[in-house]
């Protein structure tokens, strides 16, 4: 297993775009993990409000006097945690249902109609409605995103399983007396793992954007401030665009969101290139 990883990393290393993406993401992950050590202040601590950047507060303070830089660093935690958790849950649900739908014909029709339902309803408006009715909390956000993001993964995995289950090695396994679940777990799942990983990255990109959007319109968790929540606070401040405050209050959080999505896009692109050899010759950058 470790040698496979080394081979994979070696291949990954040849993709410049992938390395840039990974670099940015690692930067954010380290920030999130070591937030208490990096942040100069406790983000809940109040100082003098709406201070301009100075040597004590590099990005100034917000309307209630919290240090914006510390807020930004702790916000990385919230944003990344929601994204990671929700995308893993949705990938897990999507992969399981995709495997079952693709392998067992009797569940296929029913499961795929549910997928159709989730694919056809406009997601963002519905997410907004559901989030508005639920108590705003990190876990509710994760639940809502996982609920709406599994469907595409399920469909992609199902179509792959449909072709994989007709491979001769699946017949061969059956010939040795393997049970269905053994075949699914041991012969089919490892073959769809690359697809799942790509899907995970692509979905997480969507989730971080949706999370920021929801927080921005005020449906995020007020006790755990994410980047989107910071944008929300800043936007509510009366003179945000009249003065220069937006430059250190809104811009950094916005850029963080943009760069995270960019890094995930790059990683997804590099992975897709590795997983799908037909794309290998097309290079951007």
């Amino acid at each position: 297993m470790t040698e496979d990883l080394i081979v994979f990393l070696k291949k990954y290393k040849t993709s410049r775009i992938g390395l840039i993406g990974l670099g940015i993401l690692i930067f954010f992950v380290i920030t999130a993990v070591f937030a208490p050590y990096i942040a100069p202040y406790d983000p809940d601590q109040r100082y003098k409000s709406t201070e301009h950047p100075n040597s004590a507060h590099l990005l100034g303070t917000n309307q209630v006097g919290q240090d914006i830089l510390s807020e930004l660093i702790y916000g990385t935690r919230v944003s990344l945690f929601i994204t990671l958790f929700a995308s893993i849950v949705s990938a897990f649900i999507g992969t399981s249902l995709g495997l079952i739908a693709g392998y067992f014909k009797r569940f296929d029709f029913f499961l795929m109609r549910i997928v159709d339902l989730f694919l056809t309803i406009p997601r963002l408006p519905l997410i907004i409605i559901i989030a508005a009715f639920m108590r705003p909390s990190v876990w509710n956000l994760i639940f809502v995103f996982a609920l709406f993001e599994w469907s595409i993964t399920a469909r992609i995995i199902r179509s792959e399983v449909l072709t994989l289950k007709n491979r001769p090695y699946v017949d061969a396994a059956r010939m040795f007396g393997a049970r269905d679940f053994h075949i699914l777990g041991r012969h089919i799942l490892p073959n769809v793992v690359p697809l799942v990983v790509v899907q995970l990255v692509l979905v997480s990109r969507y989730i971080i954007l949706a999370e920021s959007g929801l927080s921005f319109i005020g449906l995020g968790d007020p006790t755990a401030k994410s980047w989107g929540m910071m944008l929300h606070d800043a936007f509510e401040y009366p003179t945000i665009f009249i003065s220069d405050i937006w430059m250190w209050w809104m811009l950094p959080a916005g850029l963080c969101i943009v760069f995270t999505i960019l890094s995930l896009t790059f990683i997804g692109y590099a992975l897709e290139e590795l997983v799908n050899p037909r794309l290998r010759r097309m290079t951007i950058l």
Partner: protein
């Protein structure tokens, strides 16, 4: 007592174009320790016959008759009982080793998996047994090879790995479905030698269109044409003196025997000719052949043929 006995076996598949009659009333018996060659052209139903013994045909397939393995009718067993027979009692060597090995699993692990399924061994023991099996099929440095992936194996080695996998649980009956297909001549000879060696104590149904391989390995030969048996005899007899016009034509089409093709095409299994299935291509066909369907007749001890020339 025979290890495997097929009585009046019929396998029909419904398709959009009509019912494919892949196997039609086949009676066949394999004795303990016998290696039986089933030869015939592509598309005559050989593989389907093998698969029906494993009971691995698609659900819509209609299988009639009896397949008795060691006194038990396979067609009446539950799926769970059948699962215990597959691999442990009857193992199949599939054609095309390149696609029959999972590309993302190490060869050793795939063999170990078959062992783990049937024998209560833990992962490490199974793995050791797998290395042993690779050694028994003469793969050099088996320890190292076991942790390689199928794409690192050559065609001949993949075939050896498939054989190792089939032998892993020490089955009593092996169904080999064209194991020499697609191998070059020298490798083919090695595989044939290996097959002969490893199946010494076992019974085998050797499905092939390679007469040379069948002659080398098998004790008896059954010739199949358009879903039915047309000739059954000892290997030496059939090669010395083939009786059925189809078998004769088949032997004459070999490169060493003059390379004379049989005229015409083998019939579609959906729309079989009436009377003798071979009469449209037969040089000895008479008016009777067109109307009446000949029966399999034992003309001398252990020699059966389905042709009006001998009745």
């Amino acid at each position: 007592m025979s290890i495997l006995k097929l009585t009046h076996l019929k396998v029909h598949f419904p398709t959009q174009d009509g019912v494919v009659k892949a196997v039609n009333t086949v009676d066949l018996e394999i004795a303990h320790g016998e290696r039986l060659g089933l030869i015939g052209e592509t598309g005559c139903g050989k593989t389907v016959l093998g698969m029906s013994v494993m009971r691995l045909l698609q659900l819509a397939t209609k299988v009639e008759g009896k397949i008795v393995y060691k006194g038990r009718d396979i067609l009446r067993l539950s799926e769970e009982e059948m699962r215990k027979i597959r691999g442990k009692e009857i193992a199949m060597i599939l054609q095309n080793p390149t696609t029959s090995l999972n590309p993302v699993l190490k060869v050793g692990d795939q063999i170990a998996e078959a062992i783990q399924l049937h024998q209560g061994l833990n992962k490490r023991e199974a793995r050791e047994k797998a290395v042993e099996m690779l050694e028994s099929v003469k793969i050099s440095s088996p320890e190292k090879r076991a942790s390689e992936y199928p794409h690192e194996f050559s065609g001949g080695m993949k075939e050896r790995a498939m054989i190792a996998m089939a032998l892993a649980c020490n089955p009593s009956l092996i169904i080999a479905d064209e194991p020499t297909k697609g191998l070059d001549v020298t490798i083919k000879m090695q595989i044939i030698k290996l097959m002969k060696e490893v199946t010494k104590q076992k019974s085998m149904l050797f499905i092939t269109h390679d007469l040379g391989a069948a002659a080398e390995i098998c004790d008896n030969i059954a010739v199949m044409y358009a879903g039915e048996l047309v000739e059954y005899a000892k290997t030496t007899d059939i090669f010395k003196n083939p009786m059925h016009p189809y078998t004769r034509g088949f032997l004459n089409s070999l490169p060493g025997m003059g390379l004379k093709p049989i005229r015409g095409m083998s019939p579609s299994l959906i729309d079989l000719p009436t009377g003798c299935r071979f009469y449209p291509r037969c040089d000895h066909a008479s008016a009777k052949c067109k109307i009446e369907h000949p029966e399999m007749v034992e003309i001398k001890n252990g020699y059966s043929v389905r042709c009006f020339l001998y009745t």
